[in-house]
C-alpha cells in the first residue's frame, strides 16, 4: 500500500520525462491543454503541430505508440456524440456522399475530436510517466488543499483494497450459485453494495485509529519535499510554450 504500488497506466522507465519533478509535469500538461482548447478550430494545421509536439514528448518518454493509441480508446463514447453532431447542428448544410450535413456541426465535431483527443493524449502521457505517489506530491506542491490531497491519497491507496473486497464478494455470490441476470437480482447486488459501504466506512475508522495511535493530528508530515530546478521547469514548460507559439500563430494567420 506504500509507494511501491504503481497504477496500471504507469509505465516504468528512466527517460528524461520520467525524471522531471511531478509538479512541473502537471503544470505543463494543464497549460498545454488550456492552450489547445483556446486555439481556433479553423486552424487545422495547428492541431497537427500539437500532435507532433505530443509525439515528440512520447518519443522522449519512450512510450510506445501502441500503448498511447490503446489508451485513447477511452474517448470512444464522445466520439459517437461527435459523429452525431453534423446531423443535428444548425446552420447551412452541405452535401457529402449524399448526406445532408451541417457545416457548423462538422466544425463542431472536428473541434471536439481534435481537442478531446489531444487532451486525452496529454493526460495519458502524464499518467504513463508519473508514479501515483509522485502525482499526489506534485498536486500538494501545486498548493492543492492538503486535506484534498490526503483524501485523494487515501482513495488511491485503498481503491485496490476496496475493489478486491468487491471482487471477493462477487466470488462468494457466484460460488453460491447466484447469477445476476436482470432487474430482479438488483436487491442482492444492492445488498452487496451496502455491505461494501459498511466495510469501507469501518475500515476508514480503523485506519483513522491506527493513524491516531501513530501520532496523527490532522496533517500528514511532509517527508520528501519535491523541488524543481530552473532547468527542469524550463524543460517541462517547453511543451506548453511551443504550443502557445503555435496557438498565437493560429490566431494571427
Amino acid at each position: 500500500m506504500g509507494s511501491g504500488h504503481a497504477h496500471r497506466l504507469y509505465r516504468h522507465g528512466h527517460s528524461p520525462v520520467h525524471a522531471l519533478p511531478p509538479h512541473t509535469k502537471l503544470a505543463a500538461a494543464f497549460a498545454f491543454v488550456v492552450v489547445v482548447v483556446s486555439t481556433p478550430r479553423e486552424a487545422m494545421w495547428a492541431f497537427a503541430l500539437y500532435a507532433v509536439l505530443l509525439a515528440a514528448v512520447a518519443y522522449a518518454a519512450r512510450v510506445p505508440a501502441g500503448f498511447l493509441l490503446k489508451r485513447l480508446l477511452i474517448e470512444v463514447p464522445f466520439v459517437a456524440f461527435a459523429v452525431l453532431m453534423p446531423f443535428v447542428a444548425e446552420g447551412e448544410r452541405v452535401d457529402v456522399l449524399g448526406l445532408s450535413l451541417s457545416v457548423n456541426g462538422l466544425w463542431g465535431a472536428w473541434n471536439v475530436l481534435a481537442k478531446g483527443t489531444l487532451g486525452v493524449a496529454a493526460s495519458v502521457l502524464l499518467a504513463a510517466t508519473t508514479e501515483l505517489r509522485e502525482l499526489l506530491l506534485g498536486l500538494q506542491r501545486l498548493k492543492l488543499p492538503p486535506l484534498l490531497v490526503q483524501i485523494a491519497s487515501f482513495m488511491i491507496r485503498y481503491g485496490d483494497v476496496i475493489t478486491d473486497e468487491m471482487r471477493r464478494m462477487r466470488i462468494a455470490r457466484e460460488s453460491r450459485g447466484f447469477e445476476a441476470r436482470g432487474v430482479r437480482h438488483w436487491g442482492v447486488l444492492a445488498k452487496s453494495a451496502g455491505a461494501l459501504f459498511i466495510r469501507s466506512y469501518e475500515r476508514g475508522e480503523r485506519v483513522h485509529l491506527a493513524m491516531v495511535s501513530r501520532g496523527y493530528a490532522g496533517a500528514m508530515p511532509v517527508i520528501d519535499e519535491v523541488t524543481a530546478s530552473r532547468a527542469q521547469w524550463t524543460c517541462a514548460l517547453a511543451l506548453p510554450c511551443a504550443a502557445l507559439a503555435v496557438c498565437l500563430l493560429g490566431w494571427t494567420l
Binding site: 469501507s200 466506512y201 475500515r203
Partner: protein, 349 residues
C-alpha cells in the same frame, strides 16, 4: 457523462472551474465539521467505495447493464459536504489518472456531476424526510426520489453549461431533449439501486447513514413501570439541527428551481428562433414562474411561456449569477448554522 476537452469553450470552463473550486473549499470546511480530523481517512475510503461501486454492473435486460453514478448515494450515506468531496476527488483522479474527462473540463465535470447531483439529491432528500412520516421506509423512499431527480438535474445542468459555452450550436432544445430523455431512464435505475443500497445499510448499521440520523430513538429509562426520557446528553441538538436542515432544504430547493426554471424555459422554447426581446420582460416572466412553482418537478413542465425568449448572452450571465449567488447562499447559511450545533452529532458516531 465525463466531458472531454474542447466540448465547452475556455471562458465557461474557467467560470465552472471557479464555481467548483469555491464549492470544494466550502465542502472541505463543512466536511471537517461533519467528520473532524477523521475527514481524510473516512472521506478517502468513501471515495474509494464510490469508485469501486461505479464498477459494479447492474444487469438490466438482454445483455445491457447500468452502473451507479453515486452522487445521491454519497450525499445520503455520508452527508452533502463529504459527498461533494468524495465525488469530486473521484472525478479529479479519473481526469488525471485515467484520462476520463478532460483536464480543462474538470470544472464542468465537478460542477455537473459532483455538486449539482449531490446538492439537488440531498436537498430533495431532506425535504421529503421532513414531510414523510418518520421511519426507515420513508428514508428509503426519499432516497429513491432524490436519486431519481438528481440524475436529470445533472443533465439539465450540463445542458445549461452547454447552452452558455458549447462549442457547437446544436439547437439547445435537441440537446436538452436528448440529455434529459436518456438521463430520466438512467435516473430510474440509479434511484432503484440507491434506494436498495440505502435500505441495505439502514437495515444493518442505521447509525452510519447520515440521512437517517434523525431516526434514532431517544434513550428511554423504565422508572417504576413508566418510560421516562433518559437525561439526554444532547437535548438542544435536535431542534437546532432540524432548523439548519430546513434552511438547507429551502435554499437548495430555490437553487434547483432557479436552475431548472431557466433551463426548461429554454428547452421548451422553439429551438429554431431565439429572437431577441426585451430582457426585462423575460426576466419578469421567469421570476413569476419561480414564485408559482411549488415542487421541483413542476419546473420540468414550464411550457406556458414559450413566447418570451431572452437574448442569449444576457440571460446566460444572469443565469450564472443567480445560480452562483443562490448556491453560495446555501453554503453560507448552512455554514453559519452549523458552527454551533454540529459538534454533538459529529461525536455521536
Amino acid at each position: 457523462m465525463h466531458v472531454p476537452d474542447g466540448f465547452i469553450n475556455a471562458p465557461t470552463s474557467a467560470v465552472t472551474g471557479v464555481v467548483a473550486a469555491g464549492a470544494i473549499a466550502v465542502s472541505l470546511r463543512g466536511a471537517r465539521r461533519e467528520l473532524d480530523e477523521r475527514t481524510a481517512p473516512l472521506a478517502g475510503l468513501v471515495a474509494a467505495f464510490i469508485f469501486a461501486v461505479q464498477m459494479l454492473n447492474f444487469p438490466v435486460a438482454a445483455g445491457t447493464s447500468g452502473h451507479l453514478l453515486g452522487g445521491a448515494l454519497a450525499a445520503i450515506l455520508v452527508g452533502p459536504y463529504t459527498g461533494v468531496l468524495c465525488v469530486s476527488v473521484v472525478l479529479l483522479m479519473q481526469g488525471i489518472l485515467f484520462a476520463d474527462g478532460g483536464l480543462t473540463a474538470l470544472g464542468v465535470n465537478i460542477t455537473d456531476m459532483a455538486i449539482v447531483t449531490t446538492v439537488v439529491a440531498y436537498a430533495l432528500f431532506r425535504g421529503l424526510v421532513k414531510v414523510l412520516p418518520r421511519g426507515r421506509r420513508s428514508v428509503t423512499a426519499a432516497s429513491f426520489a432524490a436519486a431519481l431527480v438528481s440524475v436529470p438535474a445533472a443533465a439539465l445542468a450540463f445542458t445549461f453549461i452547454y447552452w452558455i459555452g458549447g462549442t457547437t450550436d446544436v439547437a439547445i432544445g435537441k440537446v436538452a431533449t436528448a440529455m434529459i430523455g436518456v438521463h430520466v431512464l438512467i435516473g430510474i435505475g440509479e434511484a432503484a439501486i440507491t434506494a436498495l443500497t440505502v435500505g441495505a445499510v439502514i437495515a444493518v448499521r442505521p447509525d452510519l447513514v447520515y440521512g437517517a440520523r434523525g431516526l434514532t430513538q431517544r434513550l428511554k429509562l423504565r422508572v417504576g413501570g413508566e418510560l421516562v426520557d433518559a437525561p439526554a446528553a444532547e437535548p438542544a441538538a435536535a431542534p437546532a439541527a432540524a432548523r439548519s436542515h430546513r434552511k438547507l432544504w429551502l435554499t437548495g430547493l430555490v437553487t434547483s428551481l432557479v436552475l431548472a426554471g431557466f433551463v426548461s424555459f429554454y428547452a421548451s422554447a422553439n429551438p429554431d428562433g431565439l429572437e431577441k426581446v426585451a430582457a426585462d420582460k423575460g426576466i419578469d416572466k421567469t421570476a413569476e414562474e419561480h414564485a408559482a412553482a411549488d415542487s421541483p418537478l413542476a419546473d420540468y413542465g414550464v411550457k406556458d411561456i414559450t413566447d418570451a425568449r431572452l437574448s442569449g448572452g444576457l440571460a446566460g450571465v444572469i443565469g450564472v449569477g443567480v445560480t452562483v449567488v443562490a448556491g453560495s447562499a446555501v453554503f453560507w447559511a448552512v455554514r453559519r448554522r452549523r458552527t454551533d450545533d454540529v459538534s454533538p452529532t459529529s461525536t455521536s458516531v
